[in-house]
Amino acid sequence: MGKKPWTMGAFAAAVVLIAGACGPAATPAPPAATTPAATAEPGASAPAATSAPAAKNLPAVPTGYTELDQALGSDQPMKGKKVSIQTQWTGGEATGFANAIADFQAATGIAVQVDSIGSSHETVLKTRVEGGSPPDMSQIAQPTAVLAYAKEGKLIDVGTFMDKTKLNAEFPSTIGLTTEGDHIWSIPTKADVKSMIWYPVKAFAAAGYTVPKTWDELVTLSDKIVAAGSKPFCVSAGGPGTATGWELTDWVEEVLAKTEDPQVTNDWISHKITFEDPKIKAAFDKVGSLLFKDGYVDGGGPQIVNNDLKTVMDPMFNGDTATPGCWMQKIPVWYGPDFFPDRRTNGGDSKYKIGDDGDIGIFPFPNISDTFKGAEGSADSFMVFTDRPEVRAFAEFLATPEGLEGWIKTVGVLSPNVKVPAEWYAGNYKLKVANDIASGATAILFDASDLMPPAVGQGSFWTGISDWANSNGSNTDAVLKAIDDSWPQ
């Protein structure tokens, strides 16, 4: 598989998110900027204040893609055709995606059926595919899953109907993740930046803390917080349920990207170097020295395993963020405000604003090495299961910068397409942070565990790191050996 490190270009124009535009997932309402007929998609139930009303989120013809040009023709040759797509996006993400495809449906007359499955997405998808009735397309987070479906012969090679040169130019750093030789098995769609730490802005100012720029400053700050009687970090292993362990694996991958050459990460993914390699072990130890240090996380390692991803940051909001019970969480860009306590329990907009002058701020994960300042990211992609003209047209639309425009401008999302104009992200705090992170990084590395064989990346790496946290990092050697032993032959 293509596991080249992401270059900075990937996020040159990076992220986004919005404090206010997304409504509760369950409430359907017409999206802004569309004609009513073909677009009864769920939209933001809040009055979609940030969405631009008149602009059509459509690429200009000629788009560079054959079927898309046809579909967008004024005679609507594909009117009435249906395309089904399965995603695991719910809540704000589902709203954003609905906004992104609304204008396409109105303009082409193609009806897109979005099956939003949520947490059992992979299971449902696999059942549908193996059962011989797959959706026309599906979103998926793990490049390894794409390659597994490709190996089973279930996927349409998008390179057979889309311009490979164009794809490679527009997705220079992500398309390679699911490229095998001449075949391109999926189209990157939605990117995340993971190298960030969320913190309570006002409490930091009140206590006289400054945002740490280096690992040593991070440790110093943590000691200060402990001395003041609080706990520095909120960490969950990423649960609840079956997806437990990924937050901790992210920590290890982050530290590795910031201490070693990107090639080490790549060799690790391809098992050229093992988990027992001193460099990997050093990354584990470094993470352990922070998270398992007495008093740094309330309850220590075993508590990390038990903390729920959704509620783990709640103590940060103690006293309306004035008296935080924990001060820092490393979590990707999508976390807030969906999981802020008031919004999570009551729905609606969170009263806590994200921003350096708001309630919750974000700072880049501190650097460790002077040489290697890698950052961690990930990207979802679209697989195509059936080959029909309208499916091709829809896939091609999603590959254009405009394919994500409606999402970028309303709910907010980061596109892996480098042709997305920077001004689409304008005025957004998360974009600014992501830009800082992307431009400050010497390389952007794709989530390593998502590129390992699933039996490791979603299996023994998770069980191992949970084991490790349960013992507060005292059994590193045994855990690393167990993961190596489980590597598929």
Binding site: T242, W462, T463, N470, A482, Q489
Partner: protein, 390 residues
């Protein structure tokens, strides 16, 4: 009645009134229509949209066709159709088949009739049980590329799988013995108290809860908070009240094994109690009195007389619970997905299939489970046969 018979004879179908034929024909048409709706992945939506169009609610219809709108009503409609087609279809099948067979000569008819009633079950079992079972065993010998391999089986000898098998054995022994033992104890003790049925209700009620539901309940019991926070988990609230540090009951090996098994025991004790209690009540009073007259103590009566007499029921209960325990999935999956040295075969099978894309090894694990359940099934069947002979 006589009139009906005449009409039926006129219509040519011996023994079947005409209205049955008419109803069958109409039913057949509706069943065919119903099946077309059921086969279409968006059948419910489209049907409701059509109804809305007829009622003049075109915006509601449009919304439905786009996968929005009154999806819940569409699903209800689909469920009603499925129910009608399913139940009605089986009725049609039997009526139709028996109508045909009844026209055979009496001798032939008597021989064929049983098959008419068995055939659908045999056919369905073959399609949905035998065929997949054989397919599973076969696919356990192939790798993802479709080449023959023994790796799926040989790899099961690795440490992580031995741990999983070990957990299954512990489950089988502890959870089964716990459920049956407690059930027997409770049944014997409750036999002697005044408010017996009320007491039984408390033990029996958990059986009405699904395994996942029970696991959610017990996760609250086992919940753990950092030492500085108040413990809302019942067990830790009690535990810390005595000055102990909070324990992560559900995620700390090896405490998590009994913690999870307790959930199963909590559910299954009620089942064991009900069956065994009925069996105990079936022991004749004369036998017990004779024993007492002969000077047998209560313990002797229980172990020497009651237990041997209800042996059949004990075997049935034990094998039933043992099978449920071998297949245990929900509890382990819902607690933490087998993350903390507590994984079991069924959960790992699911993970191999849906997360690791190792269909072959998932099939091998399914076969292991199948083989493990077989002896218990045989024991159970043999017990049934012996009871039938008694």
């Amino acid at each position: 009645m006589a009139l009906d018979r005449t009409q039926a004879t006129d219509s040519g179908a011996y023994g079947t009134p005409r209205w049955v034929l008419v109803a069958s024909l109409i039913g057949l048409v509706f069943a065919a229509l119903g099946i077309t709706v059921l086969i279409d992945p968006h059948g419910g939506q489209n049907l409701l949209a059509g109804l809305y169009d007829m009622l003049g609610n075109s915006s509601g219809a449009e919304a439905l066709r786009n996968g929005q709108g009154d999806q819940f009503i569409a699903k209800l409609l689909l469920a009603v159709i499925a129910l009608l087609v399913g139940v009605g279809g089986i009725w049609l099948l039997f009526t139709g088949a028996s109508t045909i067979v009844e026209r055979f000569s009496p001798k032939l008819r008597d021989r064929v009739i049983p098959w008419v009633f068995i055939a659908p079950a045999v056919l369905l079992l073959t399609i949905f049980l035998v065929y997949p079972a054989v397919g599973t065993v076969i696919s356990s010998f192939f790798d993802p590329k479709g080449a023959f391999t023994l790796n799926n089986w040989t790899s099961l000898a690795k440490g992580e799988f031995l741990e999983i098998l070990r957990n299954n054995v512990i489950w089988l022994v502890v959870a089964t013995a716990g459920s049956v033992g407690l059930g027997l104890l409770v049944a014997a003790l409750f036999d002697r108290i005044r408010r017996e049925s009320l007491a039984k209700v408390f033990i029996f009620t958990p059986l009405a809860i699904s395994l996942v539901g029970a696991t959610v309940i017990w996760k609250f019991v086992y919940a753990v908070q950092p030492p500085s926070q108040p413990q809302f988990g019942l067990l830790n609230a009690i535990w810390t009240a005595f000055g102990n540090k909070p324990v992560a009951w559900a995620t700390t090996f090896p405490i998590n094994l009994p913690a999870e098994m307790l959930i199963m025991i909590w559910l299954q004790t009620g089942f064991a109690m009900v069956v065994l209690s009925a069996a105990i009540k079936g022991v004749s009073v004369e036998v017990l009195e004779a024993a007492r007259l002969d000077g047998a103590g209560e313990r002797q009566i229980f172990f020497g007389i009651i237990i041997p007499l209800i042996r059949g029921s004990i075997v049935t209960v034990t094998t039933t619970i043992a099978i449920a325990t071998l297949k245990i999935f929900d509890v382990v999956f819902s607690v933490s997905g087998g993350l903390n040295h507590d994984n079991v075969v069924a959960v790992r099978m699911f993970q191999e299939m849906f997360q690791f894309f190792n269909d072959g090894r998932a099939a091998a694990l399914a076969t292991v489970l199948f083989i493990a359940v077989l002896p218990v099934m045989v024991l159970n069947l043999r017990n049934f046969r012996r009871q039938a002979a008694m």
